[in-house]
């Protein structure tokens, strides 16, 4: 006989950490385009959110919202890069500084996703700075 509670918690951990792993996989597969990364996250979100427990729902929302946040910044950076490479735009100090800042932001997000994937897989309720609080504001706290 399987211990249903143990199985359920294990399944929760897999589903919740999976969303962070999805982000990493898409980045490693060489798909840095912001819209594609976001699209992949949305698909995973849509397929997993139904019948998700609070633990899973929280991490799905946290990963998705943080991804949307980064995507906004990435979109401008991608626009600058495309303009410079394909449309002979001028690379100014402002644009380069922005691109580097966004690069650092993506690096922080990547590291955050790795840590989150590991912690959540252990069953830890892992909150990102700001995004964790924001998600709890959206979906409420698990009382």
């Amino acid at each position: 006989m399987t211990d249903d509670k143990y199985f359920y918690i294990e399944r929760e951990r897999e589903d919740a950490s999976g969303v962070y792993l999805m982000s990493l996989m898409v980045a490693m597969a060489g798909l840095p385009l912001p819209i594609i990364n976001l699209f992949a996250m949305l698909i995973y979100f849509a397929s997993t959110i139904k019948k998700a427990t609070y633990f899973v729902k929280f991490h799905l929302y946290q990963a998705l919202i943080s991804q949307v946040f980064i995507a906004v910044f990435n979109s401008f950076a991608a626009g600058f890069i495309i303009d410079i490479i394909f449309f002979d735009g001028t690379l100014t100090n402002l644009k380069l500084s922005y691109i580097i800042t966004v690069g650092l932001l993506n690096l922080v997000e990547l590291i955050g996703n790795v840590i989150a994937a590991v912690q959540v897989r252990k069953g830890v309720f892992y909150k990102f700075f700001f995004f964790g609080e924001f998600v709890q504001l959206l979906i409420g706290k698990n009382e």
């Binding site: 490479i85 002979d88 001028t90 690379l91 100014t92 100090n93 402002l94 380069l96 500084s97 922005y98 580097i100 800042t101 650092l104 932001l105 700075f129 700001f130 609080e133 924001f134 504001l137």
Partner: protein, 261 residues
């Protein structure tokens, strides 16, 4: 709710501080928006020019150089502002071409002088090359074509300057850069009393003579199209324009001094 707002404000503040910090370092200091400052380009240009000219057959004949220098000085005097101290090297080669190197160094091949019917045609091409230099096209084009790693490694002495130098010899500019260099040249020519019809006639003749000839290097690095020739013909000289003759000596006499290959 308050906690969320405060954390959001802190997050945005941190991002802003990082951005301002990177911006204040001033990685790009040049007002042209170039990745390298003028000083850096001059240093890199010297390295590259030394590398290329070591293996080139540089003309040292005083007579030819004197003729060319007299034209070069007039054209350079037509610059509105001057970013570099220009050094123009005459290289013995059948190639009909002139190449802008970084840092104000320009190579003119004797093949170009032979192909030019008048000193004004030569001046037109030189003015065009000066346009590329003044517009900082050279380095930006190299970065786009060959990547910044090659430039940085050459500049820091860690890389192969030879590899970079060879890359530059086949470097091409995009249409916008070519059009801007043309426009620049027209203005310079107007200032020194040369009509742009000489620019048009040179490139029209070049296009007519276009054959798969190894000497026609200029065609591959400077794509000719009707729009460029039309632009030259349409350019209106200023009201105070006075046509001048660039060289008192007959151009064929100058060409006769050129060495044979």
């Amino acid at each position: 709710m308050n906690k969320v707002i405060i954390q959001f404000a802190i997050l945005m503040a941190v991002i802003a501080v990082v951005f301002i910090g990177i911006y204040s370092i001033g990685i790009i200091q040049d007002e042209d928006g170039a990745l390298f400052s003028i000083q850096q380009e001059k240093k890199l240009g010297k390295l590259i020019a030394d590398e290329i000219l070591t293996e080139a057959d540089v003309i040292e004949d005083e007579t030819i150089n004197a003729y060319c220098d007299s034209i070069n000085k007039i054209v350079i005097a037509g610059l509105d502002t001057q970013k570099f101290e220009y050094k123009i090297f005459l290289v013995n080669s059948p190639q009909i071409n002139a190449i802008s190197l970084p840092g104000g160094n320009i190579i003119v091949y004797t093949g170009l002088l032979e192909f030019a019917k008048t000193p004004e045609e030569y001046a037109s091409v030189l003015a065009h090359e000066l346009g590329h230099s003044e517009n900082r096209d050279v380095l930006s084009s190299i970065v786009k074509n060959f990547g910044i790693a090659l430039l940085v490694s050459a500049a820091t002495g860690n890389g192969n300057v030879g590899e970079l130098a060879q890359s530059i010899l086949s470097n091409t500019f995009n249409r916008k850069q070519e059009a801007n260099a043309d426009e620049f040249a027209f203005k310079v020519l107007a200032r020194i009393g040369v009509r742009t019809k000489h620019f048009a006639s040179f490139f029209k003749r070049l296009e007519r003579n276009n054959r798969m000839d190894e000497n026609m290097e200029i065609m591959y690095t400077h794509p000719v199209n009707k729009k460029r020739i039309e632009a030259a013909n349409k350019f209106k000289v200023p009201k105070n324009f006075k046509e001048k003759k660039l060289l008192q000596t007959d151009w064929d006499t100058v060409k006769a001094e050129l060495p044979k290959y």
